[in-house]
Amino acid sequence: MTAALALGDDALVLSHRLGEWAGHAPVLEEEVALANIALDLLGQARVLLSLAGDEDELAFLREERSFRNLQLVEQPNGDFAHTIARQLYFSTYQHLLHAELAAGDGPFAPLAAKAVKEVAYHRDHAEQWTLRLGDGTETSHERMRRACDALWRFTGELFQPVEGLDVDWADLESRWVESVTRVLGRATLTVPEGPRTGAWSAGAGRQGVHTESFGRMLAEMQHLHRSHPGASW
C-alpha cells in the first residue's frame, strides 16, 4: 500500500519532530498544544501503518531509504518560527487532502473523515501563530520570514501524485498556494520567492531520498527497538 505508507510516514515523522519539543516549548500552554498535535499525528500514523503491515516493524526497523515521507516533515525543528512554518505548510496540505479524501469513496475515506477534524485544528493553530509571529515584533517577523523562506523549497513535493490516491493534485496545489498566500499576507509576510522544487532540494522523499538530518532522527527514534529486537512493551 504505497499511499498508506506515504501518509503514515508523514504523520509518524512529523509526530516525532513535534515530540522533540517536549520540555522545550516557549511556554507551558504551547508545550501542551504541540504535544496534542504530535499525539493526533501519531494516532493517524498507527492506523495508516497498520494498513500497510506491522506498525512497529514499519516504524522501527525500516532504513531511511524505505521511508516515504515528505522531506518537509523531516526538517529539524529549528526555532519556534521554523516549527510553525513547517506546521503551516504541512497542515494546510494535510487538511485540504483529507477533506478531499473524506468526500470521496476511496479506501481512505473513513480514516480521512476522522483525521480531518484533528487536522483542521492543527491548521488553525499554525495559522494563529503565523499571524502572531509575522505581525508581532520586529524580531519575530524576521524569524518567521526566515523560516518561511527556508522551508519553501520543500513545498513543491507536497503535490507529487501518490499512487493509490484519487486526487486532483493540481487543484489541491492551487488551493494550497491560495491559502498560504492569504495567511502570509495577513501576517504581513510576503510569499517566499524561489522555486518550490528543484535539483537542490531533491524533492524526492516519496521515493525514499531524504535530507541529512533525517538519518540522525531515525537513529534516535529506532535505537531502543534495534537494541532489543523482538522485545514487547
Binding site: 500552554e29 496534542n36 488553525d124 494563529q128
Partner: protein
C-alpha cells in the same frame, strides 16, 4: 517571558450536558483567541459540544474576605426571605 505579555486568564467551561459554565481553572495566553485554544487543550480535551468562556483575570472583581459578614450572612430569623414555602410542580426542573 514577562507576565504582561502573557497575562492570566480564567477559564469557564460548560460541558455537553451541563447547564452552566463552571470555573475550570486558569492559564496564560497572549490574547483571548489563544486563551480559548489553550483552554480547549487543557480543560476540555477537545470534547465536542462544550462551550468555553475565557476572561482576563484582571477583569474579575472578587468579594473581599474581610466583608464576609455583611455580605454573606443575611438575617436568618426572617424566613420569609427564603423561597422555601412554595410547592414545586413535578414538571419544573433545575430550579
Amino acid at each position: 517571558m514577562s507576565t504582561t505579555d502573557w497575562p492570566l486568564w480564567e477559564v469557564f467551561v460548560r460541558s455537553r450536558r451541563g447547564l452552566s459554565h463552571t470555573h475550570a481553572g486558569s492559564l496564560h495566553a497572549p490574547d483571548a483567541e489563544l486563551a480559548l485554544r489553550n483552554a480547549r487543550d487543557l480543560y476540555t480535551r477537545r470534547g465536542e459540544g462544550v462551550s468555553i468562556w475565557v476572561v482576563p483575570a484582571t477583569a474579575i472583581t472578587a468579594s473581599s474576605p474581610d466583608e464576609k459578614d455583611p455580605f454573606f450572612e443575611p438575617a436568618a430569623d426572617k424566613p420569609y426571605r427564603h423561597p422555601t414555602f412554595y410547592e414545586i410542580p413535578d414538571g419544573v426542573k433545575h430550579l
